[in-house]
């Protein structure tokens, strides 16, 4: 067989495999959207679910998902940034540092159901936070944090050495160099990564079953006192998120339209995660252009 034929065959195989993956993905997305989009309406997105009657919505679940995401990010971003900066700029290159790096890698690949059970034992029971948004946020932090650390570290490592040296050569301290030159340059990478991590949090279910819980109290959306048990803003109340809700109505839903609700909620979830991804790409490109702009 001549080199040319071999090359042609290899190209055909690679293109075939790529096309297959794209088809599977498109089919999956198309199927979810096709089944669910028809069910999405303003009423569906804003009203409370029904247990046995038709016409329930996903309002509280949607709110819970967003609120949990915000809580998780509030915990993850500062710790992740700090650890990432340490790993990239301060940690000496020795065995302890590579040990930490290994642990971070392992932590990010722990199955989420295991994180959930760990959360149940430690956060919910031992620390006594109960089934609550806060417990859920802590559990999500466990596997969001490694991602955040790695993103920050990669972002900072990607800053050209010349830029860093230029700042240090002006007599600026390491910290000032990091905050005023390196972080702005690394920002597009960090931001894109953060949004992608956020998308993952949004779709997570297994880690939340035993931490944030599978039920919501009757939320009163006129009560904005974060200490009241019925206020949507109370971080110490149980909260069923969208992904958990889909799982629940699929497995034990009693409402006659449970299948449609699950389909609609799935579509909402997929659309939201897609929006996160596109937002990340767009923002990353926008910031890259802004920083290197030729005006």
């Amino acid at each position: 067989m001549s080199a040319k034929t071999a090359d042609k065959i290899a190209t055909a195989v690679i293109v075939g495999v790529a096309a297959f993956i794209v088809l599977v993905l498109a089919g999956l997305l198309g199927f979810i959207l096709y089944r669910g989009v028809g069910h999405i309406s303003f009423h569906f997105l804003t009203s409370a679910p029904e247990t046995i009657r038709k016409g329930g919505g996903i309002g509280p679940q949607l709110f819970n998902s967003v609120f949990l995401l915000v809580l998780t990010m509030i915990i993850t971003i500062p710790i992740g940034l700090g650890a990432g900066i340490y790993m990239s700029e301060y940690a000496p290159a020795n065995k302890i540092t590579s040990g930490i790096r290994l642990i971070v890698e392992v932590l990010s690949s722990v199955p989420s159901i295991v994180v959930g059970l760990f959360g149940l034992l430690v956060i919910v029971n031992l620390f006594g936070f109960g089934f609550s948004l806060f417990s859920g946020a802590l559990a999500l932090t466990v596997f969001n944090l490694p991602l955040m650390v790695r993103i920050t570290e990669q972002g900072l490592k990607g800053v050209p050495r010349e830029q860093k040296e230029a700042s240090l050569a002006l007599g600026l301290s390491k910290w000032k160099t990091i905050t005023s030159v390196m972080l702005p340059i690394a920002m597009p990478v960090i931001l894109t990564g953060t949004i992608l991590a956020a998308g993952r949090v949004f779709g997570e279910a297994a880690a939340l079953l035993f931490t944030a819980g599978m039920s919501s109290p009757r939320l009163d959306f006129t009560n904005w006192n974060p200490l009241s048990p019925f206020s949507p803003l109370n971080p110490f109340r149980p909260a069923e998120t969208l992904a958990v809700h889909i799982w629940k109505i699929n497995s034990e839903g009693l409402a006659p339209d449970a299948a449609q609700i699950a389909a609609g909620a799935s579509a909402v979830l997929v659309i939201t995660v897609l929006v996160f991804n596109f937002a990340a790409r767009w923002l990353g490109r926008y910031m890259y252009r802004k920083f290197t702009a030729i005006k």
């Binding site: 000496p92 830029q163 230029a166 240090l168 050569a169 005006k295």
Partner: protein
């Protein structure tokens, strides 16, 4: 001429590699001193000891003394940041920050604590004038530093270094990435600046050293082979190796 930098018996190691060997040198104040020699001869390494940029490389070890204006810059009392303010540096590649032209120059002074707008404007203008760039950029200081040519970017980097008011300016092959016309402009600029600053330049280009500097140091394998006034070194070298190098027989 008074010497501003004095190097006594300096040895520098990168791990096991002996990069500088028993260097003794005096660098005169308010003049241009050129370091020449083939790649890997230690000229950039020595330059980077003057603002302690070698500190960042793990496994670097130094023996001997580097004194600037009588102070041993490797002694414990010396604050590296204060030292680097006094010893500015221009790098091989133009490396402006991804900020506006104005912010590039104002960056150093601002982070060293100057926040008064008028004072900053003044520093930016003076620095850009000193770097012979003011007339070319004064109407678009808010534009990105990447919008100007490579040669202009390098002069912007010089302006940025001058903005923190150093006494010494280190130029690490500052023209090697530039075209001949931009190179000539930087050389002319260096000539003007030498009345106010002590300039040490590392160069690959012997003709540049001959054109621009007053003193020339020839390095080989981490050692100073010959050090004298530029004219003397190029017209009448005392060491055979220097003669071989400047006549193009190696390197």
């Amino acid at each position: 001429m008074n010497s501003l930098i004095e190097i006594n018996d300096l040895d520098l190691f990168y791990g096991d590699f002996h990069a500088l060997k028993h260097v003794n040198l005096e660098i005169p104040e308010k003049a241009i001193t050129a370091f020449i020699g083939p790649s890997g001869c230690g000229k950039s390494t020595l330059l980077r000891t003057f603002n302690r940029m070698n500190d960042m490389i793990a496994g670097t070890r130094i023996e001997g003394k580097v004194e600037i204006a009588g102070t041993d810059i490797y002694s414990k009392e010396v604050d590296v940041e204060t030292l680097r303010k006094r010893v500015g540096m221009v790098f091989q590649q133009p490396n402006p920050f991804p900020k506006s032209i104005y912010d590039n120059v104002a960056y150093g002074p601002r982070l060293h604590g100057i926040s008064d707008r008028k004072k900053l404007d003044e520093i930016v203008e003076t620095s850009l004038r000193s770097a012979a760039l003011w007339n070319e950029v004064k109407d678009h200081l808010k534009r990105s530093a990447y919008s100007i040519s490579g040669g202009q970017q390098q002069r912007l980097c010089i302006a940025r270094a001058l903005a923190v008011e150093p006494d010494i300016l280190l130029m690490d092959e500052a023209t090697s990435a530039l075209d001949p016309i931009s190179t000539l402009k930087i050389e002319e600029l260096a000539q003007e600046l030498k009345d106010r600053y002590t300039i040490v330049m590392v160069t690959h280009n012997m003709h540049q050293a001959a054109r621009v500097s007053q003193q020339t140091v020839f390095f080989l394998n981490g050692e100073v082979v010959e050090y004298s006034e530029t004219e003397q070194l190029f017209s009448n070298p005392t060491d055979q190796r220097t003669e071989d190098y400047i006549s193009g027989r190696f390197g």
